[in-house]
């Protein structure tokens, strides 16, 4: 194999033209979509994406299938290049598509390419735009698609999610994907719980750094709002967009009132932490010191058990 310099590992976001990939990327990664970059034909996203995901993964977006022969040829000739070093394949299906056969065909050819070039990649299938399906039919339709996809994907194992940008399913699906990509996530969770109990926090959340997807959380009592993770993610991403207008980058935030104090801060190289204390008498400095100390501990955890380490070995 030709490892040499560490090649960046990819997250491939693929699917038919118009299935919603650009919107999805924009929402998850807080990228501004300029009008003119859309629908001029297929998206050719060759290493232009600077979005770092989970530290060292780079997001690549490709349109797959359904365009003219020029694109087909380009796609086929660049195939090996595209499918090499893939850590994750996320394939998006438009639930309203009228050409199911064709969609499955393209999906299978992508899987073949994956098998050849990155056999250890994790495969996720998103059945997207589910808001266009009537509510009482959604489960049924999703189950059908899931069965078909699992069958077609053999010998690779794929995980299926149903998503829509207009409900919580998109955020949850991507959070699940990120959860599966974090190495030793269970260990992280145990440590997080301990940390929370030591500092007497009401709730502690661990976010992925680029997308503020929730990786793990601990809460000591029932919370009222089930959508709070997505809301916080939206708020922080909007705040980051505002900060970027000033060419500033978001680092940390503290919010207090008479009922609570909340801290958001960088944690490890891949994560942010959010700590909610309902005892506002504890001075901020104390909590911040605690967070800093915990940071060192968690960094060590992450470094030691990096699975990318083992994947790197298998690279060609």
């Amino acid at each position: 194999g030709m490892s040499g310099t560490a090649m960046k590992k990819k997250v491939l976001l693929m699917g038919k033209s118009g299935s919603g990939k650009t919107s999805m990327r924009s929402i998850i990664f807080a990228n501004y979509i300029a009008r003119d970059t859309r629908r001029l034909g297929a998206t050719i996203d060759v290493e232009h994406s600077h979005v770092r995901f989970l530290g060292n993964l780079v997001l690549n977006l490709w349109d797959c299938g359904g365009q003219d022969t020029f694109m087909e040829n380009y796609f086929t000739s660049q195939r090996d290049n595209i499918f090499r070093n893939v850590e994750v394949l996320i394939y998006v299906f438009d639930v309203e598509s009228r050409e199911l056969e064709k969609d499955m065909h393209y999906y299978q050819s992508c899987l073949e390419a994956i098998l050849q070039n990155s056999p250890d990649a994790k495969v996720f299938c998103l059945v997207h735009k589910m808001d266009l399906v009537q509510e009482d039919q959604r489960d049924l339709i999703f189950k059908e698609r899931e069965e078909d996809l699992k069958r077609l994907s053999r010998p690779l194992a794929c995980t299926c999610f149903r998503t829509s940008i207009w409900d919580e399913t998109l955020y949850k699906a991507w959070s699940s994907i990120v959860y599966q990509l974090i190495p030793n996530v269970q260990q992280l969770e145990t440590n997080l719980r301990n940390f929370a109990q030591i500092i007497e926090a009401d709730e502690v959340l661990l976010f992925e750094r680029a997308t503020f997807l929730v990786i793990s959380h601990y809460q000591c009592k029932e919370q009222r709002d089930a959508h709070r993770f997505e809301k916080i993610s939206n708020i922080i991403k909007q705040f980051k967009l505002s900060c970027s207008k000033l060419a500033a980058s978001f680092q940390s935030m503290e919010v207090r009132n008479s009922n609570f104090a909340a801290f958001i801060d960088v944690f490890t190289s891949n994560t942010y932490v959010m700590v909610i204390m309902s005892d506002p008498s504890i001075p901020s400095a104390a909590t911040l010191i605690n967070i800093r100390n915990a940071r060192k501990h968690f960094e060590k955890l992450e470094r030691v058990d990096g699975p990318k380490h083992s994947l790197h070995m298998r690279m060609r």
């Binding site: 919107s23 929402i27 009008r35 940008i165 207009w166 919580e168 919010v255 309902s278």
Partner: protein, 571 residues
């Protein structure tokens, strides 16, 4: 709890910071404390300590539902990701909650429901039907017996049914017409807008013109009738106070239920001067003579009304008068009761002479039937506002059914009044030909029931007249000057013109039968037959669904409308 508070505050903070970043000006004065530390000591309030409160009323606080809150969060966030004109990430209709579930969300945490104007004014079918019946019921009800007399009893009934059906069909194609227009949002369009769409400026102006004809025609009829009723009211009071009996002066039946024939000739287009002379010969004291001099139906009373009505017409807003629309219903109901009582007391006097004329009766089929069609065209006219009336129907699928029921009820009402008055008209002493264009004229001023009817109608017309004037003003001023009230002078000139026409008619040609049939036929030609049929044929042709029978039928409708107008002149 903590996290929810946090969400709110951070969201508010990010909004504030965003605004601060873009404009450099902090918005909320309480937050300005963090930028101007010197203000810290002003109140005991700590930053971000805001009590949730309702910003509109004191109802128990409503909190936003979880789904709405998260949708709100998404809409805010997605809005930052695209240009404001880009629809890529804007919520589709099926995602937005129904009107009933829309709240105004305050960042301070509370939400209140805004009562939606639109959904609040959706009426059940029965209310829509009643509104249509109420709007259609006009003063033409007074002329229906005369119309039946002009066309003959049997032919009259047939014509009423046929005309009703024809106009119902034309009304149906009018309400269908905005929906047949593709690619346009026609939800606020009325029929003149549809005409503008198909025929351009010409269509808009001509439909407006003919609409004006019907409105001004109605206002002229109102003036004539108001003069009539005011005169009779005054005359009745005068007779009652001075105990004058007028039974000798007028040709009519004897007995308690007196019916008179004001112009006892076979030609109903009576001569005014004859009547005046006869009445002035009654008085044997100087007072009644002077009273007749100052209280004449055609010479002075129309002018007295100017004093009352011209100021009312110049009001800027007509909403005050809209409160009195229920008077119209009371008047119609009272008329129906009155007609029933009269018919019961007078009994039926019907003889069927099919085509020959007899002294007391009229043939069943007469050549003057176009008079009745002209009256019916105005009696069933609602085509210029039916789209607006139907918009507030709760269940839009029932529009056709509700319209048909309304037309049926209107037709039945007219039929009831017309047939009963015609049948109960005491023919052996009087001639059926005597039935007046305003059937109340066939009853003397001393008749108490009819006196009350005249008074009710007078009051109702005084309240509707400014409304009609307002409609005319809004349409004319709006089209000519773009402003509903350009200046007092403009309005005054317009009102003087309208009132002048009414006064002139009341003084020199107070035959409401003719006024109604001419204005009905003319505006009916355009707004009932010509434009709806043309619009319907054009929309069918655009869809490629215009078949020969359909084209023939609709062209025939236009011919009928034209024939209606021409026949008014010759018959």
């Amino acid at each position: 709890m903590g996290l929810v508070h946090f969400c709110r505050c951070v969201w508010a903070l990010s909004l504030e910071l965003d605004d601060f970043v873009s404009t450099g000006q902090p918005l909320d004065s309480s937050l300005s404390k963090i930028y101007h530390p010197s203000v810290h000591q002003c109140s005991g309030r700590k930053p971000f300590h805001v009590e949730p409160r309702n910003i509109v009323d004191d109802d128990p606080q409503k909190r936003i539902s979880a789904e709405a809150a998260i949708l709100n969060s998404r809409v805010h966030y997605y809005g930052r990701l695209t240009a404001s004109s880009d629809m890529l990430l804007s919520p589709p209709n099926h995602v937005i909650p129904l009107n009933e579930e829309l709240y105004v969300y305050s960042p301070l945490g509370t939400a209140f429901k805004v009562p939606d104007g639109d959904s609040a004014s959706k009426n059940p079918s029965i209310v829509t039907i009643f509104a249509i019946w109420n709007t259609m019921m006009g003063t033409s009800i007074l002329s229906i017996p005369w119309g039946i007399k002009q066309s003959g009893f049997t032919l009259g009934i047939l014509i009423l049914i046929l005309t009703g059906l024809l106009m119902l069909y034309c009304c149906y194609i009018v309400i269908k017409s905005p929906k047949a227009i593709p690619n346009e949002d026609t939800s606020s369009w009325e029929f003149p807008d549809v005409c503008r769409f198909y025929f351009g400026k010409t269509g808009q102006w001509s439909s407006l013109l003919f609409s004006m004809v019907s409105l001004i025609g109605a206002m002229v009829v109102y003036w004539v009738l108001m003069s009539n009723f005011l005169y009779n009211t005054g005359q009745g009071i005068q007779n009652f106070v001075h105990n004058i009996s007028t039974s000798d002066s007028e040709f009519g039946t004897n007995g308690s239920d007196r019916v008179i024939c004001p112009f006892p000739k076979t030609n109903p287009e009576g001569n005014d001067t004859t009547c005046t002379l006869r009445l002035s010969s009654v008085g044997n004291s100087s007072d009644p003579g002077a009273f007749e001099h100052y209280w004449s139906k055609t010479r002075t009373v129309p002018l007295y009304l100017i004093v009352l009505l011209l100021p009312l017409l110049c009001f800027r807003s007509a909403s005050f008068f809209a409160r009195f629309t229920f008077f119209g219903t009371i008047s119609v109901v009272y008329l129906i009761v009155l007609v029933t009582i009269k018919a019961v007391r007078l009994g039926f006097h019907l003889e069927f002479h099919w085509l020959d004329t007899s002294q007391f009766f009229v043939p069943e089929f007469r050549q003057f039937f176009p008079n009745f069609t002209g009256i019916l065209t105005l009696a069933f006219f609602i085509h210029n506002c039916i789209i607006t009336l139907m918009k507030s129907n709760k269940n839009q699928d029932n529009n056709v059914r509700d319209l048909s029921v309304a037309y049926l009820l209107v037709g039945l009402t007219y039929l009831y009044v017309g047939v009963l008055i015609f049948a109960a008209f005491p023919s052996p002493p009087l001639y059926k030909d005597c039935i007046e264009p305003n059937f109340l004229d066939n009853f003397p001023s001393s008749d108490v029931l009819v006196f009350v009817a005249r008074f009710l109608l007078l009051f109702q017309m005084i309240t509707v007249y400014p409304l009609l004037g307002y409609l005319v003003r809004v349409q004319i001023m709006g089209q000519l000057f773009g402003n509903h009230y350009p200046s007092f002078l403009h309005i005054l000139i317009l009102n003087i013109f309208i009132v002048g026409t009414g006064v002139a008619m009341a003084m020199f040609y107070p035959n409401i039968g003719s006024i109604i049939r001419y204005s009905g036929a003319i505006c009916g030609l355009a707004l009932v037959f010509l434009f709806p049929a043309l619009v319907h044929m054009m929309s069918l042709r655009q869809d490629g669904r215009l078949s020969w029978p359909s084209a023939f039928f609709h062209s025939f409708l236009i011919v009928l409308g034209l024939a209606n107008v021409i026949a008014q002149v010759f018959m």
